[in-house]
């Protein structure tokens, strides 16, 4: 996949930053405004998907390879589980929002609501990474088919590239 025309690339270069930042914003303020970890994560994934579609897979994969993505995916999930287990460790109860009880922040502040923002970040990380990952695997497969022509139905993963 070579990517798209110059116009698309130029626009993407500007737009992707905003999409990405919007995603981050939605993740961070999930406890104050509509949105949250999941919505933000999907939007972050969208910014990378846009990049891949516009510039071609090599460009995007150089920045965020499948291995890193898979790592972020597991890492996000682990972080969330850890937050829940910390509740077990500190408060004696699974999923206890121990931070909120210890440091009750002011309402409407960014630093409020205890573990909720942390959980939002974990979910944002996890969702963004996993959606981009599945996009990569679904689309790389497609590319291989293109190169080998429509007739070859048995695909091969490019050695050393992509997933394992």
């Amino acid at each position: 996949m070579k990517g798209m025309t110059v116009i698309v690339k130029t626009i993407t270069r500007w737009v992707k930053v905003f999409i990405f930042l919007y995603g981050v914003y939605i993740v961070l303020t999930g406890h104050l405004t509509p949105g949250g970890g999941f919505a933000g994560g999907v939007i972050i994934a969208c910014s990378y998907i846009l990049l891949t579609l516009a510039y071609g897979k090599e460009f995007a994969l150089k920045r965020l390879g499948p291995r890193t993505t898979a790592g972020l995916d597991s890492g996000g999930a682990l972080l969330f589980l850890l937050a829940a287990l910390l509740g077990l460790g500190y408060g004696g109860i699974f999923f206890a929002n121990f931070l909120q009880k210890r440091f009750p922040g002011r309402e409407f502040q960014l630093a409020s609501a205890g573990i909720i923002p942390i959980a939002n970040i974990a979910i944002g990380l996890k969702v963004g990474a996993s959606l981009f990952l599945i996009f990569i695997i679904l689309s790389i497969l497609r590319i291989v088919l293109d190169e080998k022509g429509q007739q070859s139905m048995v695909q091969h993963w490019p050695e050393g590239k992509g997933e394992e």
């Binding site: 406890h31 939002n120 679904l138």
Partner: protein
């Protein structure tokens, strides 16, 4: 125009989209109609005062359409064909029509639209979330308070489903299932 009227129009639009998605011979139109239904439900969420859901729905919709189009559509240019088993079709249609009729009758057991069950049941957990949520969790977005604190465990489950699905897709799409000499 009341919310109810708007929603009825929207639902008719979605139903039409669904029928097109189901019956069209062209897979691309079918997928695009699915997208239209998704956008329809996102707009419906806005009217139903669910901004969180509207954002998530529209974002998921976009991603899903990309997956469907890039993953599948370009591969099958031949429109679907084949004979139709009219007998089985008739049975299914009758069955579903019966279900629809019974459902319409049964839905009288639910309160009318616009009068949620939480108005009737004062002890319902939702009322507690609305009244005490901000104080108890510190989050002013009550939906966030519910998914990440009161019902945070569900959200862990949700993240796990996604994790399992991604891992599953990776597993299914791997080149070789067996090691050398593994498969006789």
């Amino acid at each position: 125009m009341g919310t109810e009227t708007i929603l009825i129009i929207l639902l008719f639009f979605m139903l039409a989209g669904a029928l097109i998605a189901v019956e069209t011979k062209n897979l691309l139109s079918s997928v695009i109609s699915l997208g239209a239904i998704g956008v329809g439900s996102s707009v419906a969420f806005l009217f139903l005062m669910a901004p969180d859901l509207a954002i998530v729905q529209i974002a998921v919709e976009v991603v899903l359409l990309i997956f469907l189009i890039r993953g599948t559509i370009a591969r099958d240019v031949i429109p679907q064909r084949g004979h139709i088993a009219w007998g089985a079709l008739a049975v299914v249609v009758v069955l579903l029509a019966g279900l629809l009729a019974f459902g319409t009758y049964a839905f009288r057991g639910i309160g009318r639209f616009g009068q949620p069950v939480i108005s009737a049941v004062q002890e319902a957990p939702s009322n507690r979330y609305l009244a005490e949520g901000v104080r108890e969790t510190g989050a002013v977005n009550i939906v966030a308070a519910v998914i990440l604190d009161y019902r945070g465990y569900d959200t862990l489950g949700e993240a796990t489903v996604l994790f399992a699905a991604i891992l599953g897709a990776l597993t299914i799409l791997r080149v070789k299932g067996f090691t050398k000499g593994g498969q006789r």
